[in-house]
């Protein structure tokens, strides 16, 4: 099997299952529910199956332990406890790391899971006591027929034994081992019945142990030895079988049914559920992102042709033609919005990981936090979804670490012990807003000012002119950290400036509002889709370029005479501020004459401004951003390309490179 072909599917599905387990674990933490346990068990089971098929042993091992532990809970043999929950949470974290490793071409063996495995095993360890007890008390329930067989055998010198066989945890082919056990037993006597039933054992439908009711003339010790010789058998217990049915045959009739029946009923009950799950899944299909991109490309091409068709129809001026073109236009408009939504995904995917993260972060630093998520169904472009996770993680960690106070401090301040952290997403215009709001202490602006001065981020004059919010925004400045105590969270060496850069690279903006003593609200606004941006088309010589509107402050006309020279650099006075000029024709080596009066596009990067000198402004337009491709990566000051209405390609200026 070509494993690579399935890798993408494996990664996607693993992540889904891990996510589902995490969700269910959070539920389980609230209320113990058999359904939830069953749900987790099933996901763990699927994960185990998938990973061992793909040959990722470390993932398979971890899920196997988890599955075994859950099986006990599921079977009512053990009660789930906080320890088990914690172990499962950390198992999921490790699993995520392993899956990430696999995604990066590793084998998923980057994580040391021994502690987690040991924790599972110590939980399972308790099982032995329970299990043996249960096998003692329940023993083999036999029907009347079997009972008579045993009785007859006993009369001809056979003994009835109950054999409990437990295979080792590392066993690969359970059915094969079980078969070898039966093979040995067959040499020594006769197998009367097994638990689970023989068919089920053959189909590996058993955990690690099974019971055999066995007739033999050998001694219990001999049988034990013979079975123990089969490799990967961990433990064998052979006991004389005393049928309860002998002394009380009428009782046997009643006890006969219950044991096998519930087991069957259970498997049957599982199937419809799985079918239901399969039906729910059938409503969505997985489509390769590449295909969607191709569809979008072709569609955009089609839209361009539609434009041409419209123009031609206008020229011809024939009524029927115009009518048809109009129909095509309406149809394609609908199609366009549909095609654009294909790449959209609910932000739920990102938000889903936060409840668990908030729980563990809060636990680590002894804070109490209630996370409130809303708008998880808000849809965003898939590319943004992929990228926005890390910055949000950072902001949330920050809110818990620096925003929300310790329980005792909160109580003193007259707030409830448990802090509130709200995570919201919603649409507004053609942007998506994500807010992270806490009811913590708020940002201490004085402290920020002092630190910023100390670190040389701002001068004291600058500080004097800044508003409270502007000062608070300094926490996003490079090399800034307000942590009094270096915790594990803030000690990661990644500042909030990285968060800001990341968000800006996605075409987003981050802002904050803070009220001392009442809390802080971070707001991230993102473009709905990454691929469509508003841009200013400019002309230099006979070449056209697009400058993203998001980086443009304004456009202005400049006279040759307005150009000043400062330190051999051409600058101009833009509202009392000297702004350097960049000539696109020089930067891009374009042969063209600049007129005595020319347009300047003022672009900004953070607080810095640059005037971009062009020949003509063509106008503002929505453009579809397209990559230049691997072969032309790293061309300075060009971030991509777009296809213009006439089918030509125009390059998009990366104004960040102009500074």
């Amino acid at each position: 099997m070509d494993v690579n072909e399935y890798l993408g599917l494996f990664l996607d599905e693993s992540q889904e299952h891990i996510q589902s387990i995490n969700n269910q674990l959070l539920k389980l933490e609230q209320t113990a529910s058999a359904d939830v346990v069953q749900e987790i068990f099933r996901s763990a089971h699927t994960l185990k199956g998938m990973s061992s098929t793909m040959g990722y042993e470390s993932v398979a091992n971890l899920t196997h332990e988890m599955e075994s532990a859950l099986d006990l809970v599921r079977g009512g043999k053990k009660e789930s406890n906080q320890l088990l929950l914690d172990t499962m949470f950390s198992a999921m974290e490790q699993m995520e790391d392993m899956i990430a490793d696999i995604e990066n071409g590793g084998r998923g063996s980057n994580v040391d899971v021994s502690e987690t495995v040991a924790a599972f095993q110590s939980f399972i360890g308790g099982k032995e006591v329970v299990a043996v007890k249960s096998s003692d008390s329940s023993s083999f329930e036999v029907d009347l027929y079997t009972n008579s067989v045993i009785e007859q055998a006993k009369q001809s010198g056979f003994e009835a034994f109950q054999i409990h066989v437990k295979l080792s945890d590392a066993v690969v082919l359970k059915a094969a081992r079980a078969y070898m056990v039966f093979d040995r037993l067959q040499e020594l006597g006769e197998v009367v019945s097994t638990q689970p039933e023989t068919e089920e054992i053959e189909q590996e439908k058993f955990d690690l142990s099974f019971d055999v009711l066995f007739l033999s003339q050998e001694t219990a010790d001999d049988i034990e030895q013979a079975v123990a010789q089969v490799s990967e058998v961990e433990r064998v217990e052979v006991k004389a079988f005393t049928s309860t049915a002998v002394s009380a045959p009428e009782l046997a009739v009643t006890t006969e049914a219950p044991t096998p029946e519930p087991a069957k009923a259970k498997t049957e009950a599982e199937e419809p559920k799985e079918q239901a799950a399969a039906q729910a899944q059938a409503k969505t299909i997985r489509v390769n992102l590449e295909r969607i991109d191709r569809l979008m490309n072709l569609f955009e091409e089609f839209i361009i042709d539609r434009g041409r068709l419209e123009r031609l129809a206008d020229e011809v001026g024939q009524a029927e033609l115009n009518e048809t073109v109009e129909k095509i236009k309406r149809g394609t408009n609908e199609l366009q919005s549909l095609v654009l939504t294909l790449r959209m995904m609910p932000i739920e995917q990102v938000f889903n990981r936060f409840p668990r993260m908030v729980r563990s972060v809060a636990k680590d630093i002894h804070k109490k936090v209630q996370l409130d998520i809303s708008g998880a169904e808000t849809e965003l472009d898939r590319t943004v979804i992929d990228e926005i996770g890390d910055p949000l993680v950072h902001l949330i960690r920050n809110a818990i670490d620096h925003g929300i106070e310790r329980p005792e401090v909160r109580l003193q301040a007259g707030k409830p012990e448990q802090g509130m952290l709200a995570l919201r997403a919603y649409h507004g215009g053609n942007r998506v807003f994500i807010e992270i709001e806490d009811d913590g202490a708020g940002i201490n602006v004085d402290k920020v000012r002092a630190k910023a001065l100390e670190r040389g981020v701002i001068t004291s004059e600058e500080a004097g002119m800044m508003s409270e919010n502007e000062l608070a925004m300094l926490i996003f400045a490079p090399g800034f950290s307000t942590a009094d105590v270096v915790t594990d969270l803030s000690g990661r060496g990644v500042g909030l400036d990285v968060v800001k850069n990341k968000i800006e690279s996605l075409g987003g903006v981050v802002s904050l509002e803070t009220v001392a003593g009442q809390g802080t609200k971070f707001q991230v606004s993102l473009p709905l889709t990454l691929s469509i941006i508003s841009a200013m088309l400019v002309q230099v010589g006979d070449e056209s370029y697009a400058i993203p509107l998001s980086s443009i402050l304004e456009t202005t006309l400049l006279d040759e005479a307005d150009i000043l020279t400062a330190h051999r650099e051409r600058v101009f006075d833009f509202r009392g501020q000297l702004v350097p000029l960049v000539y696109l024709k020089e930067m891009f080596g374009i042969d063209s004459e600049t007129k005595s009066q020319f347009p300047v596009v003022v672009v900004r990067k953070g607080n810095k401004l640059v005037g971009v000198v062009v020949n003509d402004l063509i106008g503002q337009q929505e453009i579809v951003m397209k990559p230049l491709g691997t072969y032309l990566e790293g061309i300075p000051a060009i971030s991509g390309a777009t296809i213009l209405g006439d089918g030509r390609v125009a390059l998009i200026v990366d104004s960040n490179d102009l500074f």
Binding site: F588, G629, Y631, I635, G640, A641, I643, L651
Partner: protein, 143 residues
């Protein structure tokens, strides 16, 4: 498996590229120059909605640049890192492997050519050099 090559020419010389890697042969269309890219990269074209880089094979292989003619074509090849176009003087024909004999490149050939050539194909009235399309595009980073 039987191999086929798309044979095209630069001046009076013929070259062949494995037909498997050729996506299409396009007429010359407007090319947008990409500033500050290697000299032989002519720019990018809009190939059915995909922005595709195009290189001038004449410049790449050390010929002189000439103005395009009616016969000038862009050979779109599917390479390791995406599609790319090669401007050639003329696209001639598709040649099958039973029409030619494959011979190694003469040892006296210059290094520049041996980097991009894999072999020489010789037939009754044919002679063309087999090009490694991936090598043509990839090593421009190193220049």
């Amino acid at each position: 498996m039987e191999q086929k090559w798309v044979v095209f020419s630069l001046e009076s010389n013929s070259y062949g590229i494995d037909v498997q890697s050729v996506r299409s042969i396009e007429r010359l269309q407007p090319i947008t120059r990409v500033p500050n890219s290697p000299a032989h990269v002519k720019g990018v074209i809009n190939l059915r909605g995909v922005v595709t880089p195009v290189i001038d094979l004449r410049l790449r292989l050390g010929y002189e640049e000439i103005p395009p003619t009616d016969e000038t074509r862009i050979l779109i090849a599917s390479l390791n890192q995406g599609d790319a176009g090669f401007i050639v003087d003329r696209a001639n024909e598709v040649v099958e492997s039973d029409e030619v004999r494959i011979e190694p490149i003469p040892e006296s050939s210059s290094d520049m050519l041996t980097d991009h050539l894999t072999a020489i194909a010789k037939g009754e009235d044919k002679l063309f050099s087999l090009l490694d399309a991936n090598a043509l595009f990839e090593d421009h980073h190193a220049e």
